[in-house]
Amino acid sequence: MEQFYGYFLYLISLATMGGIYAILTLGLNIQWGFTGLFNVGIAGFFAIGAYVSAILTTAPSIRHLGGYQMPYAVSFIAAMLVSACIAWAVGKVCLRLRTDYLAIATIGIAEIFRLILKNETWATNGPRGVSMIPKPFETLPEPWNQLCFLALVILTVFVIYLALEVAHKSPWGRVMTAIRENEIAAKAAGKNVERFRMQGFIFGCMLMALAGAYTAHYLKFIDPNATEPLTTTFLVWVMLIVGGSANNRGAVLGAFAMWTVWSASEILASRLPDELAIRTAYIRIFLIGFVLQIFLQKYPKGFLSETRPHPRAARTPGYSEPE
């Protein structure tokens, strides 16, 4: 019985982290899937969100800035706003250049951000991190606190998913697709391409910050190591590519599927003898890279490819369904 209860708890944690990753992938999907922006600095915006929300909600501490004890709603919104401002500045510099530059610049931003987190000890407690971050619903008994937090995450994913579906199908999504398809024509059609790109970039970064904030509260602890690029940037990319970029459902699916693979593969690895188990950790990373290669080459569209809703058949006579 306990075993099953254990499985149940593990499933909750799997789904919670999966959901947080789904927020990240949805954010990246706006940037890459909808807008075609190659952001490799996910970890940076994730970190912004995590620290802003952590500092705003923790009790006073001698180790770091804090003691504001704001409600979660305020801290989540603040996390997204700060991230939006930084995204705006980055976008201002990089969005008009070739996509590779954005990649290089964002990976740089993420690294700079880690440097700031490590060195500005007065605010962040440096490399030692912020501890005792409150967690929503933590006063409820086990497993209800975990279930409620999971519900919060899933609800957020669902709301974001719906909002993005609406946006993707809307004229906004249409313009985004148009820009991706043919930038010159989009410009000739009077679209302010830079502004739309900027919007995509900022919205994506806001979601990444939100995911960061959720992570900080979920872990109840955050330090610069939690914003390590391997699991906060690269893994998210693989999730999106595998799930199917430009497809919101694909993004969510990819997040849950890859997180399950990433997390559960270790359960298998831990069954191996020790010496091997240690080395298997590296095989897991190798596989992440390899899966990315396979999908890029063989299934570049991922599990679910992009679907764009076409306008319905018109009422005007003379229109016929295509054969």
Binding site: V40, C94, G108, L115, N119, F286
Partner: protein
């Protein structure tokens, strides 16, 4: 003043030449294959590890075994190009960036798997510097690194300016379409790019290993400064990359010189950010770089 030369200027030049060698490979792939190669740092790491193993096996000086590790690394790079990059020749460049991204993880984890994560030394012991004019301190290995780097850069210069393939490479970096029209064998040029970039990458990896040690993250840690050097010099401009590398290396070291007062100008904890700041500044004011590269 002499302290400035000993502890800031010379290390800066040393670091700069290591960046410069690596950045040439980055800028060539950027110019010729048209993508930002995120796996370049890993080919440096691989070269350093192969050299380490060869040194262990033969007991020779790292510089002696470097040619062999260059060949081995280049074989790996050509294999990777054939199976992981070539399928994307006609696709959007971003696919290649992503493929190189995955490659970065793959190469690094293979290195970690086979060699482990323990830090290794390729040239153990302390080398006391030779003191010139009673004050200027130069370590023999640093002289060796700087001279080797200069020799390699001259070789690159000779290759690009005197040989047919070098000219073809420059033509292709300038305009791939035009190069194709004029009948240049683009696949051949691409292979040569990997050979040149790989060899220089291995050299910079080994030099870094000689100066410090061999470690699995060494290449990744150099990636950002190398990108910055390539952008600073102008994308597709090998000479620009050399200049860019030197400038970035020097600035990084000089940034913590106590220019004002006795405290370092910049908290050395932020040293790694220098390359990035130069790069952003460059992207804002002059995205074509010093040597008018591509945007």
């Amino acid at each position: 003043m002499i302290e400035f030369a000993n502890f800031y200027l010379i290390p800066g030049i040393l670091l700069g030449s290591i960046y410069a060698l690596g950045a040439i490979g980055i800028t060539l792939t950027f110019g010729i294959l048209r993508f930002a190669n995120f796996a370049h740092g890993e080919s440096m790491t691989l070269g350093a590890y192969i050299s380490f193993t060869l040194v262990q096996m033969t007991g020779l000086h790292p510089l002696m075994v470097m040619p062999i590790s260059m060949v081995l690394t280049i074989v790996v790079l050509l294999f990777i190009d054939r199976y992981f990059y070539r399928p994307f020749r006609k696709s959007h460049a971003i696919m290649l960036v992503m493929a190189s991204f995955g490659m970065m993880l793959m190469i690094r984890s293979v290195i970690q798997f086979f060699w482990g994560v323990q830090v290794k030394t390729i040239l153990p012991g302390i080398q006391m510097p030779i003191v010139f004019f009673d004050t200027l301190r130069l370590s023999p290995k640093h002289i060796m690194i700087i001279i080797s780097a200069i020799v390699l850069m001259l070789a690159v210069h000779f290759l690009l300016s005197r040989t047919k393939i070098g000219k073809a490479m420059r033509a292709m970096a300038d305009s791939p379409e035009l190069a194709r029209l004029t009948g240049i064998d683009t696949e051949h040029v691409i292979r040569t790019t990997w050979v040149v970039g790989g060899a220089l990458g291995v050299a910079s990896g080994v030099f870094l290993a000689i100066d410090t040690h061999v470690e699995t993250m060494m290449g990744f840690n150099l990636l950002l400064p190398m990108f910055a050097s390539a952008i600073l010099g102008g994308i597709g401009r090998p000479y620009g990359a050399m200049a860019g590398g030197l400038i970035i290396g020097l600035t990084e070291e000089l940034s913590s010189y106590p220019w004002i007062g006795t405290e370092p100008l910049l908290n050395p904890g932020y040293k790694a950010g220098i390359a990035f700041i130069i790069m952003v500044g460059m992207l804002i004011w002059r995205p074509t770089g010093l040597f008018k590269g591509k945007v």
